[in-house]
Symmetry: C2
Subunit: 290 residues, 2 copies
C-alpha cells in the first residue's frame, strides 16, 4: 500500500488487517508511520528502484495505491510535487509490478476528474494529474496484463481526520461558537464515511483477486446521500442537537467549485452503510471523548 499514513490509508490498513490481509507499506522515509499494523515497511526516497525492490520483495497479491498530493488549488511552486506524487510514483509502482509480475492494482481517483458533465474535464490540476495517471495505467493494461480498478472518491470523513476540510471547520465552529463565513451553500456534496470508503477498497481488491482478464475499470465511491452543503449542515445540527454559527453567503463560491459531483457507476457488490446522521453522531461522540 502507498498512502498508508494518510487519512483513508491509515484506516484502510486497520480494515485490511482486521479482514486478515498482510500489509506492506511503501512510504517516504520522512513520514511518521504511527501505530498501524503493517507487516513490512519499505522506504521511498523518490527512486524507481526503491519501488521496484519493495514490490519484488513483498510480491503482493494486490497493490493499493492511495498516496497522492491533494491540492484544491495550486500555484507554480506545486507543479513539480503534483507530477511527482500523482504521476511519477504511480508509474514507478506500475513498473515495479510489471517486473515482479504483480498485476492487480486498486487506484484512488477523484470525482473532480469530471468538473461538469459526465466526461473528463478536471476541476483542478490535481484532478488532471489523476487522469494523467489513468492514461499510464492503460499502457500497463495493454502491455503487461494489468488488472486495475480506480475508485473515484468524493469527500470522505471520519475519526482522526486532520485535513483542513470544511467539515473540520464546521466542527470547530460548533465547539467554539465562533461564526464561520460560508459560500452560498447550494453546491451538492457527497460525503462518504471512511469506513464505507475502506470497505469499497477491500471490495475492489477482492474483485481483482477473482478477475483473470487484464482491464481497467472506474467506479464512483458515493456516500449515498447527495445533499447541498446547507442540508449537510442541517444534518450536523440535528446530530449535535445544536445550531451551527454559519453565515451562508458571506463569501463567494471558490473558483471552479464543483456544483454537482460526478455521477459515475457504482462499485458492484458494495454500498455505503453509514448514513450521514449516524456518521456525524459517531464523529461528535469521538470528538467529545477526546
Amino acid at each position: 500500500m502507498t498512502g498508508s499514513t494518510g487519512f483513508v490509508g491509515s484506516h484502510l490498513v486497520r480494515h485490511l488487517a482486521g479482514a486478515g490481509w498482510t500489509i506492506a507499506a511503501l512510504a517516504r522515509s520522512t513520514v511518521a508511520h504511527g501505530d498501524v499494523p503493517v507487516a513490512a515497511r519499505f522506504g521511498y526516497g523518490g527512486a524507481t528502484q526503491d519501488v521496484c525492490r519493495a514490490v519484488k520483495e513483498f510480491r503482493p497479491d494486490v497493490v493499493f495505491h492511495l498516496a497522492s498530493l491533494f491540492l484544491v488549488q495550486h500555484g507554480a511552486e506545486d507543479v513539480e510535487a503534483l507530477i511527482d506524487s500523482n504521476v511519477l510514483l504511480g508509474t514507478q509502482l506500475l513498473e515495479g509490478m510489471r517486473l515482479a509480475n504483480v498485476t492487480a492494482l486498486v487506484n484512488a481517483g477523484t470525482g473532480w476528474q469530471s468538473f461538469r458533465g459526465p466526461g473528463y474535464e478536471p476541476a483542478n490540476l490535481y484532478a488532471a494529474t489523476k487522469q494523467a495517471f489513468e492514461d499510464i495505467v492503460a499502457y500497463y493494461v495493454s502491455a503487461a496484463g494489468l488488472r486495475c480498478i480506480t475508485l473515484r472518491l468524493f469527500d470522505s470523513y471520519g475519526p482522526g481526520d486532520k485535513r483542513r476540510k470544511l467539515l473540520r471547520l464546521m466542527l470547530d465552529a460548533l465547539r467554539t461558537g465562533v461564526e464561520l463565513d460560508m459560500s452560498p451553500g447550494d453546491q451538492v456534496i457527497d460525503l462518504a464515511h471512511v469506513d464505507d470508503v475502506c470497505r469499497a477498497f477491500i471490495r475492489a481488491g477482492e474483485m481483482l483477486l477473482q478477475q483473470r482478464e487484464p482491464g481497467a475499470a472506474v467506479y464512483a465511491v458515493s456516500g449515498g446521500e447527495r445533499r447541498s452543503l446547507r442540508e449537510v449542515a442541517a444534518v450536523l445540527e440535528k446530530a449535535a442537537g445544536k445550531t451551527l454559527p454559519l453565515r451562508f453567503g458571506a463569501r463567494p463560491h471558490r473558483e471552479r467549485e464543483v456544483m454537482v459531483p460526478w455521477n459515475g457507476p457504482a462499485l458492484p457488490g458494495w454500498e455505503p452503510k453509514v448514513s450521514l446522521l449516524e456518521g456525524f453522531k459517531r464523529l461528535l461522540q469521538k470528538e467529545r471523548s477526546l
Copy 2:
C-alpha cells in the same frame, strides 16, 4: 520553442525564421545549441521557475512544444526521465503560460498513442506519457483559456537526422553493402519529410493566431503515402538506382510493433508536398555530398 535542438525542432527553427518569426529557445543548458537562428535562449535546469521566467520575459504569441524523450521501448531506469521530459516539462510550460497569459500552444504527440484501432491504446510508455500530457492540457483549456493543437507525428526523415532509425540503417546498408536483417516488413509505415512536418507546425501556429476560443484539437501529420516497409525499401532502391542488401524476415517483428498507423484527422489547410521518391532522392544527394 522547446526541443529546438532536436531533429524536427532544429529544422522548425529555420523554417519559422524563414517565414519571419522571432524565436526563443528553452533548452537544458547541457545541450549544445548549434547554429540555429534563435533570437533568445533560456536555460532549463528542471525547475518550474526557469520555465515561468522564460515565458514571462519573452511573452511568445505561440509556444511550440517539441521537447520530448523518445523511447520505443523502456526499462525501469527510464521511468523518471520519461515522466520528467514528457509530462513535467510540458506542465511547467503550461503553468508559465497561464501566469504570463500566453494561451497558444502547438504540441507534438505521436501516432503511437493509438496502437490498434482509432481510440487511445498506447504502443509504449512513451506514447502513454504523451497522452498523459494531453490530459494536463485539458485542465489549462478549461481553467486558463488555453488554445492547443496537438500534432501527432509518425516517422519523419530528412537531412541531418542523427537518430538510429530504420531509414538510417537502410542508408548505411546501401552505402556499405553490408546485409541488414529485417522484420517480415509487412507493417505499414508513414514517413513524412521533415519539411512537410515543419510546414504543419507553422500552419498549426497560424491557425492558433486566428482562433479566439479555448480548445484542444488533435491532428495527424501523415506523409501522405502509407506503404509497407517492403514497399518503402523498394522506393529507396528506385531513388538510389541500386538494390538494397536487406534480408526481410530474418528477424521477428519487435514487441508491440504498430502494424497499421493511426488514421486521424488531417490538419486543415495543410498537405504533404514531398513524395517519398522525391524525399529519398534529395536525401541521397545530400548524403553523397557529405
